[in-house]
C-alpha cells in the first residue's frame, strides 16, 4: 500500500484508540482549561491592554498544551514494543511520521478550539483585523510546532529524562515560529500592522522543516 494509504490507516487506528481510552483526551482538555484560567489570574489586563499581550499569552498557553500532547505521541507505540511490528514490516517510515504528525495536529487544533473562546471571554478580546487571518496563522503556527514536536518526540524516546528532553530541544528551534505566531496574532488583533510577512515566514518555516523531518525520520526511527 502506498505511503498515504498507510498513513491514513495508521491515523485512523490512532484516532480509534484515542477515542476508546478517553482518559488521555479528557485530562488534556482539562489541562488546557486550567492553563487558560491560571493565565487569566496571572495576567489580568484591561480590555485595551489585553489586545497587545493576548497574542503572546495565547501562544504560550497553546505551547504548553501542545507539549503535553506531544510527549505521549510515541508512548503508545512503546508499550508492548509494538513499534517493532511496524519497523519490521515493509511499511514506509514516513507514513508513520505523517500519521503521527497529522494526529497531533488535529489534537492540538481541538485544544486550541477549546482554549481560544475562553481567552476571548476572559480577556474580552475583539479582533480589529479579519478573523480568517487569525485562523490561517493558527493553522500554520500549529503545524510548525507539531511537525518539529513529533520529530523531536521520536528523538527523545531514546534518551533518558524524556519528558524534559522534548521541550528542551524543541523550544530553541521553535523560537522563530513562536515569534511569528505571536506577532502576527498581535498585529491582527490590534490591526496595527499587516501579518503578511509572518504568514509567509511561517509557511516557509513549515515547508523547510517538514522536508527536513521527512528526510531524517527513517534514520531516527531505526536508531537502535
Amino acid at each position: 500500500m502506498s505511503t498515504m494509504a498507510i498513513a491514513r490507516a495508521t491515523l485512523m487506528k490512532d484516532l480509534r484508540m484515542e477515542w476508546r481510552s478517553k482518559d488521555a483526551i479528557n485530562s488534556m482538555l482539562f489541562f488546557a482549561l486550567l492553563v487558560v484560567v491560571i493565565f487569566s489570574f496571572a495576567f489580568n489586563p484591561t480590555a485595551e491592554e489585553s489586545r497587545q499581550i493576548a497574542g503572546g499569552l495565547i501562544w504560550v498557553a497553546f505551547l504548553f498544551a501542545a507539549v503535553v500532547a506531544l510527549n505521549q505521541t510515541w508512548a503508545r507505540e512503546l508499550r508492548n514494543q509494538v513499534l517493532d511490528a511496524y519497523r519490521v514490516s515493509p511499511a514506509p517510515p514516513n507514513a508513520l511520521f505523517l500519521a503521527k504528525t497529522i494526529g497531533n495536529f488535529l489534537f492540538v487544533v481541538v485544544l486550541e478550539c477549546l482554549m481560544a473562546p475562553l481567552f476571548v471571554i476572559f480577556y474580552e478580546l475583539r479582533s480589529v483585523g479579519p478573523v480568517w487571518q487569525l485562523i490561517v496563522v493558527a493553522l500554520l503556527g500549529t503545524w510548525a510546532l507539531v511537525v518539529n514536536g513529533t520529530f523531536f518526540a521520536a528523538l527523545s524516546i531514546r534518551t533518558r529524562s524524556r519528558e524534559i528532553m522534548l521541550p528542551l530541544i524543541l523550544f530553541p528551534i521553535s523560537i522563530p515560529a513562536l515569534l511569528g505566531m505571536v506577532d502576527a496574532t498581535t498585529s491582527i488583533l490590534t490591526g496595527e500592522a499587516s501579518p503578511d510577512f509572518w504568514i509567509k515566514m511561517l509557511a516557509v518555516y513549515d515547508i523547510v522543516f517538514t522536508a527536513i523531518c521527512l528526510m531524517l525520520f527513517e534514520t531516527v526511527l531505526n536508531a537502535e
Binding site: A9, K13, A85, S89, E224
Partner: protein, 232 residues
C-alpha cells in the same frame, strides 16, 4: 557483532542457514538469542558485519517475506484482535479482511471476539502475536519465545502448527527455553552461549542427549541452498 555499550551481545556469529528448515535456538539468558533474531530482522544493525537475507543485503527489501514475533506481544492493547490484525495486514499491503480472519482461526482464536487485547489472557495474547507474525504468509519466520506463559497443551498445538508450516516450505527460527516442546518438529537445534553459536545439532535420536550437553567450540556449518547468511 553487536555491542551494547560495553556488553558484547553477539560476537563473531558467522553462520549460514537453509530454507525449509525449522531451527530451534537454545541457550541461557544473555546468550544472545534475542539479539540474533533482532539483527536478522533488521531491527538492529550489527555493530560490525552484515546480514544477507533471502538473497538481499538490505533486510528492508525483503521485509514482506519475513515475519517476526518478539519477546513482547507487539500488539495494541486498546484494539480487538481483528482490529490489530487488520491494521498490521494493511502494513503488508493486504486489504482483504479474510486473511486476518483465517490467521486468527489458525491459532485457535475467535475472530468475532470484540474484547480488547489488553483483556486477553496471556495464552491468547501469545497466539494473537503469532498470528500477527505469520498473517502475510512469510517465507521466513523468526519467533522469540512463542511458548512463554502458554499452557502445555496450547504450546504443543502451536508446535505442531509450526511443523506443518515448515512442511509447506517455510523457514522457521524459534527461540525458546523449552526445547522439549520442539522435539517432534525441529530440524536442528542451535545452541548459543555468551554471544556465539556454540554448536548445531541435527534433530534425531541423539538430539535429546545433546540438549543437556555443554556448548563446544564455535563454528557453524554451511548447508546447501543458503537462505540466511550472517557473516563476521
Amino acid at each position: 557483532m553487536k555491542f551494547f555499550g560495553r556488553f558484547a551481545a553477539l560476537r563473531g556469529v558467522s553462520a549460514t542457514f537453509s530454507a525449509g528448515r525449522l531451527y530451534v535456538v537454545l541457550g541461557d539468558n544473555g546468550a544472545g538469542k534475542s539479539t540474533l533474531l533482532r539483527v536478522i530482522t533488521g531491527l538492529m544493525e550489527p555493530s560490525q558485519g552484515s546480514v544477507t537475507l533471502l538473497g538481499a543485503t538490505k533486510v528492508r527489501d525483503v521485509a514482506h517475506r519475513v515475519g517476526y514475533m518478539g519477546h513482547a506481544p507487539l500488539l495494541y492493547d486498546e484494539l480487538s484482535g481483528m482490529e490489530n490484525l487488520r491494521y498490521f495486514a494493511g502494513l503488508y499491503g493486504i486489504k482483504d479482511g479474510e486473511v486476518s480472519r483465517k490467521a486468527m482461526l489458525m491459532v485457535g482464536l475467535d475472530p468475532d471476539l470484540e474484547r480488547r487485547v489488553g483483556q486477553y489472557s496471556q495464552g491468547m495474547r501469545q497466539r494473537l502475536s503469532l498470528a500477527r507474525a505469520v498473517l502475510h504468509d512469510p517465507e521466513l519466520m523468526l519467533l522469540d519465545e512463542p511458548f512463554s506463559n502458554v499452557d502445555v497443551r496450547s504450546a504443543r498445538d502451536m508446535a505442531a502448527v509450526l511443523g506443518r508450516v515448515r512442511d509447506q516450505g517455510k523457514t522457521i527460527f524459534v527461540v525458546t527455553h523449552q526445547a522439549q516442546l520442539m522435539e517432534g518438529v525441529a530440524d536442528e537445534f542451535v545452541h548459543m552461549a555468551a554471544g556465539q553459536i556454540a554448536k548445531r545439532v541435527a534433530n534425531g535420536p541423539t538430539a535429546t542427549a545433546a540438549l543437556v550437553g555443554e556448548p563446544g567450540i564455535p563454528r557453524g556449518e554451511s548447508m546447501a541452498d543458503p537462505e540466511v547468511r550472517t557473516t563476521r
